[in-house]
Symmetry: none
Subunit: 170 residues, 2 copies
DNA sequence: AGCTCTATGTATAAACG
DNA sequence: TCGTTTATACATAGAGC
């Protein structure tokens, strides 16, 4: 094009590549805007180069697509790292998706449930250790007596059961 | 352009609009592909017209952006309904996002984690009940002996501790 | 890095099949 | 509703600043 036709392959010269990128990026965005107006179309466009700077265009018409407009992706490919910054209504969008599709992607209540169960878990673990006589230095006398009673009671039950099992053999 | 300059405003003639849409859509997609190759850029492009049929392009380089490529939006604007069908790796992408950003949107592992903790919880509950001598009808002789040992051991530890507490008072 | 210029390659509006 | 054609408008590569 222009002063000379170019082959569609990677432009090796870095500065030429950058210049072409900038020009063509503007060109595409312009075209995207035009087709939006001319044809009632909906366009979501995200372009980003190796600099990490991102440009995007989203036609205003389809509000349910605007999450694309709000999706900012900064990709540092050179360092093999990819950061994604999602702003705004992604969660809303996912919520909508879940409602419409019936697919359960994510449940805010899970977090609470996990917390609750974990706490339950922890206290049971402590009780178990206490019953086994471990970690009992922090216990006071009353607590020790309570555990002693529980253990004696359990022992009695277990021994009764044992005896009944032996009895059934004879 | 072409045989005559056109103003950038909605093309009222439906068939002309459709033709222009089709041509320009192809043009934009071609440009998107070109800038991808020429400039090492990453492009995500979604276009859809009033017909509801959607076209998209996503440069292959940035796999972390491919969810856009896999995001199919069928929008029935005329009926004020919006269906979103998200295929494939959206969940993976969100997971990656959460890891990289530290933002907790949702955790796919929650479900598994809850299951795991619940099972742990359950087995501890059973063990606790057994140690207290409850629900022991299903236990066999060896298990009873194991519990008896554990209880005796625990009782010894608790009694020792009790004794040492009493001793420190005198 | 960003702007202008300009020759030239492309995209495309309109027309036709 | 599709391709194909073609004249024309537009985009842009390269150069210069």
């Amino acid at each position: 094009m222009g002063r000379g036709k170019i082959e569609i392959k990677r432009i090796e010269n870095t500065s030429n590549r950058q210049v072409t990128y900038s020009k063509r990026k503007n060109g595409i965005i312009k075209k995207a805007k035009e087709i939006t107006v001319l044809c009632d179309a909906n366009v979501s466009l995200v372009i980003y180069g190796s600099s990490g700077k991102m440009y995007e265009y989203c036609s205003p018409k389809t509000k349910y697509c605007n999450f694309l407009y709000r999706l900012v992706v900064i990709s540092f490919l050179s360092s093999s790292l990819c950061y994604m910054i999602l702003i705004g209504s992604l969660i809303d969008m996912l919520d909508r998706y879940q409602r419409l599709s019936g697919n359960k992607l994510w449940d805010a209540k899970h977090e609470n449930e996990i917390d609750r169960i974990k706490k339950e878990n922890e206290s049971m673990q402590i009780e178990l250790r206490h019953l086994k006589g471990e970690d009992i230095t922090s216990l006071n006398y009353e607590e020790l007596i309570a555990y002693e009673d529980a253990l004696e009671n359990g022992l009695t039950n277990i021994r009764d059961k044992k005896a009944s099992l032996l009895g059934s053999f004879s």
